[in-house]
Symmetry: C3
Subunit: 360 residues, 3 copies
Amino acid sequence: MFLRNAWYVGAWGTEIGRQNLLRRTLLNEPVVFYRQEDGTPVALEDKCAHRHAPLSEGKLVGDFIQCPYHGLEYDASGACVRVPGQSNVPPDCRVRSYLAVERHQWIWVWMGDPALANSDDIEDFHWMDAPGWVAKGERMHLKGNYKLLIENLLELSHLAYIHATTLGTGAIAEEQMTFDRGDRDVSLTRWIMDSPVSNMFQKLGGFEPNEHVDRWQRVTWTPPAFVKLDVGAARANTGAIDGDRSQGFGYRNLNAITPETDGTSHYFWAQARDFRVDEDWISDLFVQSTHEAFSEDLWIIGLQQENMDTGTTHPRIDINHDGAAIQAIRMLEAMIEAENGAAGAVSGATRRNSQTPLQS
Amino acid sequence: MFLRNAWYVGAWGTEIGRQNLLRRTLLNEPVVFYRQEDGTPVALEDKCAHRHAPLSEGKLVGDFIQCPYHGLEYDASGACVRVPGQSNVPPDCRVRSYLAVERHQWIWVWMGDPALANSDDIEDFHWMDAPGWVAKGERMHLKGNYKLLIENLLELSHLAYIHATTLGTGAIAEEQMTFDRGDRDVSLTRWIMDSPVSNMFQKLGGFEPNEHVDRWQRVTWTPPAFVKLDVGAARANTGAIDGDRSQGFGYRNLNAITPETDGTSHYFWAQARDFRVDEDWISDLFVQSTHEAFSEDLWIIGLQQENMDTGTTHPRIDINHDGAAIQAIRMLEAMIEAENGAAGAVSGATRRNSQTPLQS
Amino acid sequence: MFLRNAWYVGAWGTEIGRQNLLRRTLLNEPVVFYRQEDGTPVALEDKCAHRHAPLSEGKLVGDFIQCPYHGLEYDASGACVRVPGQSNVPPDCRVRSYLAVERHQWIWVWMGDPALANSDDIEDFHWMDAPGWVAKGERMHLKGNYKLLIENLLELSHLAYIHATTLGTGAIAEEQMTFDRGDRDVSLTRWIMDSPVSNMFQKLGGFEPNEHVDRWQRVTWTPPAFVKLDVGAARANTGAIDGDRSQGFGYRNLNAITPETDGTSHYFWAQARDFRVDEDWISDLFVQSTHEAFSEDLWIIGLQQENMDTGTTHPRIDINHDGAAIQAIRMLEAMIEAENGAAGAVSGATRRNSQTPLQS
């Protein structure tokens, strides 16, 4: 069961257009994306009301989408506007239209009750296109439930293991972290003080090889499945922890996860920065190295999901590092419960989290 | 649920013989086909009574089929006639035998109660081997329920869309059609008067390029899943619509669909003609172009079936062009209901058709 | 339902070590195998207690196995001994440890109640490593339930059909066999007297081409799924049937089957001999020819399993040759019933065997 009354990222703006209609399954439902002639994005149920053929195999006729099978045409509201061979259109002939808004490079869709939708509620990802910023990323595919990826992003000790040769250093897993639960977010903050700079940070921040830095990561989750990282480093002991970042640099890792099915997910992410924005090699390096690291995450989460579905699976045991993830999943599940008006309908595996004392 | 007391096409006569025993699943049941020494076709349950190995992996010993695993032999009636290592045969040792009749180039099988079978009821496909006629075709495989293909054949507006570059012209979808429901058949007739001749028809009928013709299509469905097309064209306004085909030519497209499983089907078809029967290039052209066009149908029906099985699927909306298909499916389902003595056991999706007013 | 309180072969000793941790599913449960620094084999549930990642993707840290995802470490008892980022370990943090014993070249595991395990009960396969003997084999994978392979090994008439060009001769299926049911075993004995020697036996035993031999096969099943064959031949009429094997030679074919899932199995086997033990070509010939013959078995059993799962499957009909297999499966199912304290919980298909009169 998904939170339906929420804005999700359905596609990159660059993925949709007037050619190659994009079919994408979101929250178990097939959706077709296209643009009207004025560029406005459209998201419709990808299933003709007549005989259920996928509209995404058809073509655009002006602002209408034409079914590939029998030629029925639909407008952006999902109403059928033409049936070949007859002058009238059957009154119930329509496909579901999903509200679609283009913002921050992404196409946002509302899969729930349209009466509850307000585009002001679209999650703030202004770093994606704010003046002075440059952002670049991609969509990846996860063979796992989206909650597993939320947990992954809210738990940093795995950097030392899964990302041992990419992002991690041995020290990371032993660092203590603090997290805060707000009304509608959970944040996790980690400072790694006075430690050797990584190769990538050295290149980006202009540090000397083996120079020591104070490194920060602030991870903020907001529902249903957005995780934003404020990441950076400054020369060791120059006051970054107290707010002075002048001796360092930072960037944002921006993540939006959208359930595809119960067991698979879309992973939209970008790296955004406000330094050296004209240097494409930095963008390329960011995308390439992030892709490499996230591939490691998707690999282990895919195995995790498959293993959970094999043989006997005991309830999870929580550890200190899970604190932030537990809070986020608990908050998300409460929202899903509230949306469905069914206080008892939580899955056992994740509900257990709420009974586990947190120690960080 | 399938109509079981009916003759279905199980194979082309050329597909079965004394070598390479043919295994084919029909109505969810695995069947093995072979010929006795005198050429008589045999269709048996492809599952040894002993330990359920597929007989089709065995070999023929005279008129008997020998199990590949332990050597049990069965005769054409399905009775086990030999068990290695013992002189007697266990009394219940038999596999089901399906009545099999070779007629009109095809092997017909009866999957229901043998007591109700009468080979006189085999559908008339005499064009397949009548004197003065030549017929050629093939078997194709559909990843979809057989009813979707019946509907496809009884609905002609899709020619303008799915077959836009092969069979269709833009005009087709707007043509009005008439259909008749008989006691045990549904026919759909279309006349396209005074319209430009297609490339293929020009070649076949000896028309001039861009000449106008009166074109006819008469589609007749009979249960469970036979669809015969009488197709042709004559010089425009020479009286073909009133019965004078002397200024034109025609041929038959003959289709027999057999359910393989609930979600897959066998599609047997041939093109038959009584003109220029010695010119092989016409047979080849027919088979090649029909294969190309039918591949387009199987492609979209496969997507249709897959889409119906994905996410939320609303009840169908019918349009005018569906008239004939609705009548045929309604008649078929009534026969299935009657066979099963369960008036209420119809699937929701297709039952809806009977509540839709027809407008053509 | 499997017999759980039993020793099964989980792996060849050569398959496990300190690198390339071996994941293997046994009785539907994923298990990871490794060796401690002193060489002792370890078998643990391959599912971290924390977030269910597969430990087999991690690495060894001394005698501990470290989870690839978050770095938790487990000792050979399955107890978590380290959680990164915290000094204490949650009290319930452990994975299941399976008793593992290395014996006769194989790693034996106990998948049931550890309190009932006694390594003295490990099946006797001393030919695998006894002085004066040499044994060589492999693991094969069966796409079928393990009982189908037990039945295969206890039924010899199939040699004439499945192995017609490898092991069988036409005469075999008609030979009579005798079987004995002991308290905890079933044995099947066949003597083929005064018959032409096979190519392989001629080479191995030093017989003349076309010489006649007395050939024996004694097949012994012990639960849950061990089958040992004592196979050999001697010059015809030199008293082998009365115990004098001096004019012949013999070897052991040793089989241990372990359920992987309900529908798939691991097949461990070896050929052991006490003659010409230094001649590697004989070992190679044994392994190669046995591999070829067993591939034929796994092929037909895979088809058998698939066919059983397709369409209508009637209850089995038994034949005389099934006597030994019926006794073994009956005994095995009684043990499973007893273990589960549920006398009625037998599968229909095999229970039928116990109602079939045996005639050999």
